[in-house]
């Protein structure tokens, strides 16, 4: 078994913290790993990335080859597209949907989303918003990690264990907030998967997931049912596009979906 991951974002967004948690979970799970990362000039607000290579046998190269990554975990939507040449044709993209426009010429958000949501397997979450709600505005990285967690080749509990270990030195409240952020991501991803399992088309599900205000617990069954019912209607695609474009985050209320025109 090999499992290659690209972790990316913008300098200062905590890409290396995500790598730390995955590395330690992998070792705990008895997997071999190698994990290159970028230090230096690009950490000044430039594009940064790390790679994680996991395997049941020893890994040769530190670097991932073209088309071999199983997933991209990104803390910024445009950055999530930067490493697609490494992603296998059935690979997954997990990303924060919130643009970070610290540069000239940032693309039009609508166009960016068109490309992002055309990917076959994408889980985009409003990690910036969810992290703030969890009580740690810097925890977008952990929301995204949570969103990807069930796709990684070891138990989710191992990620939580090493997430705790990483933030322990910063105090219990930081641990709690990051854990909450992680579980919000987990809930988002599970919700998206449940929608798709119930017949909602993947891009429609992905757009809605990007705007829902998840909690650190799984989404209630009645909320899921309400969304499934709404998103199986013929206008669901248009609705999902409107919801995404509006940018407001939607509360997890069972009455809400039916009210959406």
């Amino acid at each position: 078994m090999t499992f290659d991951l690209v972790l990316c974002g913008v300098g200062g967004q905590g890409v290396l913290s995500t790598a730390y948690v995955i590395d330690h979970a992998a070792v705990d799970a008895g997997l071999h790993f190698k994990q290159p990362e970028i230090h230096g000039m690009s950490q000044r607000g430039g594009a940064v990335s790390a790679q994680v290579r996991l395997g049941s046998a020893p890994i040769a190269s530190d670097l991932i080859s073209t088309g071999e990554a199983k997933a991209v975990l990104s803390v910024e939507p445009m950055e999530s597209l930067r490493y697609l040449s490494l992603l296998s044709s059935d690979g997954w993209v997990f990303t924060d949907v919130t643009p970070l426009k610290n540069m000239a010429g940032y693309p039009d958000t609508a166009k960016l989303y068109d490309v992002l949501f055309s990917l076959p397997h994408v889980v985009a979450v409003n990690a910036t918003k969810l992290a703030a709600k969890a009580g740690a505005s810097k925890a977008q990285n952990m929301v995204v990690l949570g969103a990807a967690a069930s796709h990684l080749p070891f138990p989710v509990e191992l990620l939580e264990k090493h997430l705790r270990a990483l933030f322990q030195v910063k105090g219990e409240h930081v641990v709690t907030a990051n854990l909450k952020a992680f579980r919000m991501g987990l809930a988002a991803s599970a919700f998206g998967a449940a929608l798709i399992a119930r017949g909602v088309s993947a891009p429609i599900a992905a757009r809605v997931v990007a705007r829902l205000d998840f909690d650190a617990t799984p989404v209630a069954e009645d909320v899921l049912n309400a969304w499934v019912e709404r998103l199986l209607r013929s206008d669901a695609e248009a609705l999902s596009k409107r919801v995404l474009a509006a940018g407001d985050s939607l509360p997890l209320e069972a009455q809400l979906p039916a009210k959406l025109a």
């Binding site: 913008v10 300098g11 790598a19 590395d23 330690h24 070792v27 071999h32 790993f33 190698k34 994990q35 290159p36 990362e37 970028i38 230090h39 230096g40 000039m41 690009s42 950490q43 000044r44 607000g45 430039g46 594009a47 890994i59 040769a60 190269s61 530190d62 670097l63 080859s65 073209t66 088309g67 071999e68 445009m78 950055e79 597209l81 930067r82 697609l84 040449s85 490494l86 992603l87 296998s88 044709s89 690979g91 610290n102 540069m103 000239a104 010429g105 940032y106 693309p107 039009d108 166009k111 960016l112 068109d114 490309v115 055309s118 990917l119 076959p120």
Partner: protein, 556 residues
């Protein structure tokens, strides 16, 4: 048996500590910075009896390490590849004099120039000095070769270069650690003539270095990591070195069995094994990260006249940039996997270059410089230097016209002034100024050259992650005045938007003065506020402490 997740840099540090290291010195530089950082933080954390600090520059760092070595103890100096240029003088000469206590230079090259201005290959430097070079392929070897480098340095009395590349320096893996050896006792060199390089002694010492060469060659020929595998008569052969070994295995997989392979991890090149490989092989492909170093040797040995030798010089392997498994697949005619294809990607994926942080003091300094540049509409040029402020080359500032190497800006501004550029400006950080900028300022003092030196004092070495600077705060004004700059023309400003007009008036005054001015633009880095306080606390504590403190690491 202990196992830990370590960066390549950290593995080198751990190898050095476990080899019985007594002292370490370094100047920060990507991708080498974490070597000394690790030694320093473990020393503090576990109260290890290891001395050392961030030195003023790499030359000084190496000289400090040589001082330790001459006293019979083990020392490591770490730097990025271009740092070895700064340290070249002591390096070339300690090669002649020899090491006494184990002396290891951990030098990290940066192929692809992720954070550097060139791709120079430190194996060439080790060869130039005629000393040993070890080149680990992975994190485990980085640990083991760092340990071993000290042993062999001491046994053969030569400094050893441990060459890393960015990808290994900055990649993590699980490393198995060994037992820690105790430190050497203090024992100054026995024959101090060999270490006193006046010509009569230097001739004897140099003859000694030449005499050591067969032992270095033997070490290389017999080394377990210079492994020759002959799989069959007449199969094609590969020579592969350093991290390229990991890429090659990844790229070829089981097809590696179709080749005779010589792995090289220790230099001088094991030419006996190269000869043997060639005798059994139909041709050679040479795969190495960096320069075509091995390839040129093999070619120069005349072997290429017998059988084809392919590599970077023949265009079979890319000459520029770092290697990776995909590039080697192309070299060996193997397919590269297809990746996820996405329509419209190029329309929405833009470059995101690094930039100065929001509220960075350098931005305010560049706004001042750009404003006077607009006013003057002259031949004014601004020589830049190495540090975060090199980002002033890019939009929106576009405030500097050059950036060559550490400390170069002041000398280049003097040269530009001599060539007729007026006014001739330069910008240099507080760390870079004390690294190698000060000497050039002395030249300008002697002539009272009409240049305007902006020292951008942000109280920290920021680009490499917040290491302490040698001289900051009011000490910097004292230093500049002490070098002979007229006190009336040593001006200090606080680069903040609210003081823009006031600062502009000061800059205009100094531009009107036909002589040497130093403008210190002082405001702390916004990113490393906590580190600046911590470094200041440590420095104050060190100054407050007096008395016999030989083993306290400055932290008592």
């Amino acid at each position: 048996m202990t196992q830990e997740i370590l960066l390549g840099d950290e593995a080198v540090a751990r190898g050095a500590i476990d080899a019985g290291l007594s002292a370490a010195y370094a100047y920060p530089g990507t991708p080498s910075t974490e070597i000394f950082e690790t030694i320093h933080s473990l020393t503090k954390q576990h109260h290890l009896p290891i001395r050392g600090f961030w030195s003023t520059n790499e030359k000084v760092a190496l000289e400090e390490a040589i001082g330790v070595s001459y006293c019979g103890k083990r020392a490591m100096v770490s730097m990025k590849h271009v740092g070895l240029n700064v340290a070249a003088d002591p390096f070339m000469n300690v090669a002649v004099a020899g090491a006494w206590g184990g002396l290891v230079l951990a030098v990290a090259d940066d192929p692809s120039m992720h954070s550097s201005q060139n791709e120079q290959d430190s194996r060439s430097f080790a060869d130039f000095a005629q000393v040993l070079c070890v080149e680990p392929a992975d994190q485990q070897e980085a640990y083991e070769l760092a340990r071993e480098a000290f042993e062999v340095s001491e046994r053969l009395r030569v400094p050893v270069v441990l060459r890393l590349v960015t990808r290994l320096a900055h990649s993590r893996a699980l490393v198995t650690l060994g037992e820690r050896r105790t430190q050497n006792e203090l024992r100054y060199v026995e024959d101090d003539g060999l270490y006193t390089l006046i010509p009569s002694n230097a001739r004897r010492a140099y003859a000694g270095l030449i005499d050591k060469q067969p032992a270095l060659q033997k070490f290389s020929e017999e080394h377990r990591l210079n492994a020759l595998t002959i799989r069959g008569e007449g199969k094609p052969g590969i020579i592969v070195s350093g991290i390229a070994w990991t890429y090659l295995r990844e790229a070829l997989g089981p097809k590696l069995d179709d080749f005779n392979v010589l792995r090289v991890s220790v230099y001088p090149l094991p030419v006996g094994k190269v000869r043997e490989l060639l005798d059994h092989s139909s041709e050679l492909m040479i795969v190495e990260e960096g320069y075509p170093f091995i390839e040129r040797f093999v070619s120069a040995l005349g072997l290429f006249r017998e059988k084809p030798v392919k590599g970077k010089l023949t265009g079979h392997v890319p000459r520029i940039g770092e290697l990776n498994p995909d590039l080697l697949r192309k070299t060996f005619g193997l397919p590269v996997k297809t990746s996820l294809a996405v329509a419209g990607l190029e329309d929405v994926l833009m470059a995101r270059p690094p930039r100065l942080c929001d509220a960075c003091p350098h931005g305010d300094s560049y706004n001042l410089i750009n404003e006077v540049r607009r006013e003057l509409d002259s031949s004014m040029r601004v020589m830049g230097d190495i540090g975060c402020y090199a980002l002033g080359y890019s939009k929106p500032y576009q405030a500097i016209n050059s950036c060559l190497c550490m400390g170069s800006s002041i000398g280049m501004a003097i040269g530009a002034a001599h060539a007729g550029i007026s006014p001739s400006l330069c910008v240099i950080g507080d760390g870079t100024f004390t690294h190698t900028g000060m000497n050039a300022l002395l030249d300008a003092v002697i002539e009272n050259t009409n240049i305007k030196v902006f020292i951008l004092d942000n109280s920290i070495v920021a680009m490499t992650g917040g290491q302490p600077t040698t001289m900051s705060d009011a000490h910097l004004e004292e230093l500049v005045a002490g070098l002979g700059v007229k006190k009336a023309h040593v001006r200090t400003i606080t680069p903040v938007p609210q003081k823009h007009a006031e600062n502009l008036a000061i800059v205009r005054e100094e531009l009107a003065y036909q002589g040497l001015s130093v403008i210190i633009a002082r405001r702390a880095c916004v990113r490393y506020v906590k580190e600046i306080k911590e470094h200041k606390r440590e420095r104050d504590a060190a100054h407050a402490h007096e008395g016999d403190c030989a083993n306290c690491s400055g932290n008592c």
